[in-house]
Symmetry: C3
Subunit: 152 residues, 3 copies
């Protein structure tokens, strides 16, 4: 543990920074995708967002729930629920000084899976596409990071 501090300068920490940034950027894009669907489908959750409509009656009609918007929102929440653990555990894992190739494998499996998960979710691809993109990092990748982290 005495050398933990040097890990911040390591290749593994550098790799973690890059992959964490990429996957967080991907998560931020979900906000833009929600806005895009809300604007193109004219579906809003706040009355003050509907000021392009003319009459009050028309505005109230635009405050509604749309399955496609809800789908993107569920995908966004699922991202939050999974990317937050990855960032926390990945950071601590990077500080344990793991093997670079092993660390890269973990980071790439996770980040790749999240991209596939998003495509499968938003495009409603037939299962088990989304389940497979969700399962492996959840059941194999993250627990492995956890195990190493607990040895810190």
């Amino acid at each position: 543990m005495a050398e933990t501090v040097h890990m911040i300068d390591s290749e593994v920490f550098l790799a973690f920074s890059t992959y964490a940034t990429i996957v967080v950027l991907k998560m931020m894009l979900m906000s833009l995708m929600t806005s895009y669907f809300r604007l193109t489908k004219q579906v809003f959750s706040n009355l003050e967002d509907t000021n392009l409509a003319k009459t009050t009656e028309d505005r109230k009609k635009l405050v509604r729930v749309d399955p496609d918007v809800e789908r993107v929102r569920r995908c966004h929440l699922n991202d939050l629920e999974n990317i937050v653990p990855f960032v926390v555990i990945g950071l601590l894992y990077a500080l344990t000084g793991p093997d670079l190739s092993m660390a890269l494998l973990h980071f790439r499996v996770f980040v790749g899976s999240r991209f596939i998960h998003t495509v499968a979710y938003v495009m409603a691809l037939p299962q088990p596409t989304r389940a497979l993109a969700f399962g492996p990092p959840f059941c194999y990748d993250q627990p492995n990071l956890l195990e190493t982290t607990l040895q810190l």
Copy 2:
């Protein structure tokens, strides 16, 4: 502050890593609990998740909202809303070089409370069980960490 960097090697940082990992792991288990309830109660939020049903009519019926599943999902979101601040503030707090016994007390109160909170929420125990599990870390534990962190 000149010695902040040594804090990454400290006992407090080690303790933080362990408790942060435990509480994040607990949060990840909420995903599995949601899946468990969805599969056992046959309640889904996407049409493509219902491909075990035979007819389209049957499949559409499985896309519905169930109070037990919603309860687990609210608990999961509550975890996210509280564990994210703990991880951020706890990390910065660990870098301020606090007293180990004090830090352990804070970390244990928080992590213990979150476990009690989850049990109270999912099993719908009578109030004020859940309120007490939510309140103390929120009103005492986290502000204390914040105070120290702002002295950094």
Copy 3:
């Protein structure tokens, strides 16, 4: 990169700690605001939370959805979706050793915008107040942090 480790002692890291703590504290206050609205408007999402009502009929009536509570909850979720990326990217950005005045500008724009966003959301101020508070940090501030972080 060899000097990354010294960045934890830097002024920029100190500034990041302060602004991250402030914005996370602001996010935690959303929980209190939700509780406040739930108690004053008597709107609950769990039956066990309604034990101040006398009869079972009265209790069931209190488990309902209220537009004001939902508004605060959407604002809280929006905070989570945006503050998590800020914390992750801001931390890595602070480790790249950026210019202090530039870093302070980024942190202040982000934190200030989030406060304006919350006020605009909870008070339902006419658009584009909320859109302007959301847009600039999202489209200008965060991508800039990202760009620097990817150069790590």
